[in-house]
């Protein structure tokens, strides 16, 4: 492990991945579902009948998954290259 990642507490490293992605996925969820009503989208493409609350929640966690993937990659590329 590199010097920098050693000097950063583990909790801070976990938080650096999960927390910014949580905040951004919250913003993304608000913007996305303000523009699009999930019930209408599902009515168009045909799908199961989950409540709106369910679609919002699934949407939020999908966004969180994607944004944390982004954070993980950022952290990964921050590591110095091995020779």
């Amino acid at each position: 492990m590199s010097e920098t990642s050693k000097s950063v507490p583990k909790i801070q490293r976990i938080v650096a991945i999960l927390w910014p992605s949580f905040v951004v996925s919250g913003i993304a969820t608000i913007l996305f579902f303000t523009l699009f009503d999930p019930v209408e989208i599902i009515a168009c493409i045909g799908g199961s009948d989950i409540s709106r609350m369910g679609y919002y929640s699934i949407g939020f966690f999908m966004f969180w998954l994607l944004t944390s993937l982004n954070s993980v990659l950022t952290c990964y590329f921050l590591k110095p290259c091995s020779k």
Partner: protein, 467 residues
């Protein structure tokens, strides 16, 4: 700083999730700032837990009804179309925070931040169960016994119950809480409601019970950039080094000046009360959330010693250096102007808001159709949203092309309060008047009983082009 780094490196091999952190047991403090924080905590928790119970015209006064896609705030109902107001409100809140920070430093952190508020509540519970700072430390050091288990169990049980209540009330801001309570009692909560009660409850328990000051240090973006709003006239909590040093213990009533000592008796109470575990005498640190617990406790000590108060105090860098302080500086004036302009703009636009929405959706199945009479016809679906508190009948007019015919109802479109009506219409145009494949149309919609409620929305008419 270098000292801190070596500490971190030394402790790394432990690799504990929450660690490299000594648990902080903040000592209870009394005084003017502690009372201020207590009132802040009570008011904010009161708003949070009792807010959803407020009623207005037979419904929940403040309800962010996500399942129905409507926000109720007293007399107002906001729709997804009104998103811009929410964005404006957030901008105003951010500028207000900048202004407060420039003037008074981190008062937000010390008195109003939810992290502080719930941590205070959890600390209060902890003290009620486990006793004072000294008994808490003793209890944590002691081996496991029945008595220790009982105390720890009680504490976590109360913490978890309180967190569950918090999670329940959280969901109650988004779905009507009366109905939610009924369904809870009859065990008919939906899976997503249960999920969010648990999720928010768990977040409360984790953040206020376990993470505490680490949230401020590692998770809070504001804690990182607040120093950008600081200047030499910003209120900060500061130790008067000139007066305090050299610190040292002494007998009460002894002439410390003759002994060559400063006013600081080195009792370490300021460190014991600090919720983030820092020593304010080391100077301003980013971990300091400006709660002023050290100010309160030091003043108590100074009073007992018969010394002048405010060895640790809210003060500004300029005051400490004996320079002139200024209140109205460019930074403050800019924030005030921005705040005033954005607030007025928001209020004005809400006052002028027309409670009517119109979406025009062109029929997707065909571009256009030629009728038997040789006219070009387009089909649209109108979605008329009545965002007002009473029913309205609306009349529709369409313009944009000469000789345009609208096949629509004569009596207007009736839409009940707070509902959406979808309405199909057909528009016919003589192809002679069409100059392009796509022509802009304007749809005018106005309430028959109220001239103030009218909007116009653009649409497209597609047809063949004859050159």
């Amino acid at each position: 700083m270098t000292e801190k780094n070596t500490q971190d490196v030394e402790m790394t091999p432990l690799e504990e999730v929450y660690a490299k952190r000594k648990k902080i047991f903040p000592r209870q403090v009394t005084g003017i700032f502690a009372s201020l924080r207590f009132s802040g905590v009570m008011i904010l928790l009161g708003i949070y837990y009792l807010g959803p119970l407020l009623q207005w015209n037979g419904r929940q006064a403040i309800l962010f009804d996500l399942p129905a896609r409507k926000f109720y705030i007293f007399e107002w109902i906001f729709w997804p179309q009104d998103f811009i107001y929410l964005a404006a409100l957030l901008i105003i809140a951010a500028i207000a925070l900048f202004l407060v920070t420039a003037l008074a430093g981190r008062v937000w952190c010390g008195y109003a931040c939810p992290q502080t508020v719930w941590t205070e509540a959890f600390l209060w519970i902890e003290r009620k169960v486990e006793g004072s700072r000294a008994s808490q430390i003793k209890l944590d050091k002691a081996g496991w016994s029945w008595a220790k288990f009982r105390l720890k169990f009680t504490k976590h049980f109360i913490w978890l119950s309180f967190s569950l209540l918090t999670g329940f009330v959280f969901v109650g801001w988004f779905t009507p809480i009366a109905e939610l309570s009924e369904r809870t009692l009859s065990l008919e909560l939906g899976p997503w409601e249960i999920f969010w009660v648990l999720f928010y409850g768990f977040a409360t328990y984790g953040n206020a019970g376990w993470m505490r000051e680490q949230v401020c240090m590692y998770m809070c973006p504001y804690a990182r950039f607040q120093s950008a709003m600081f200047d030499k006239n910003t209120l900060v909590i500061s130790y008067d080094e000139k007066r305090g040093e050299p610190r040292g213990s002494r007998k009460k009533g002894s002439d410390y000046i003759a002994e060559g000592k400063g006013a600081c008796v080195d009792c370490s109470l300021c460190v014991q009360v600090c919720p983030t575990g820092i020593d304010i005498r080391d100077g301003l640190q980013y971990q300091c959330i400006g709660c002023a617990a050290c100010v309160d406790v030091c003043n108590e000590v100074m009073e007992k010693m018969g010394y002048e108060k405010n060895l640790v105090s809210y003060t500004t860098e300029n005051a400490l250096d004996g320079k002139k302080e200024s209140f109205f500086r460019p930074r403050v004036i800019i924030y005030v102007v921005l705040l005033a302009v954005s607030t007025l703009a928001l209020l004005a636009s809400i006052a002028q808001r027309v409670p009517l929405g119109l979406d025009i959706i062109r029929d997707r199945s065909s571009l256009y159709r030629e009728t038997d009479e040789g006219m070009i016809e387009n089909v649209y679906t109108l979605k008329v949203m009545n965002m007002d508190l009473k029913d309205h009948r609306y009349s529709l007019a369409v313009g944009g092309v000469e000789g345009l015919l609208v096949k629509k109802p004569n009596k207007g479109i009736l839409v009940e309060a707070g509902t959406v009506v979808t309405y199909p219409i057909r528009i016919q145009v003589n192809p002679e008047y069409l100059k392009a494949a796509s022509t802009k149309l304007i749809f005018y919609l106005n309430a028959i009983d109220d001239d103030a409620i009218s909007i116009e929305v653009g649409g497209r008419f597609l047809g063949p082009v004859f050159n």
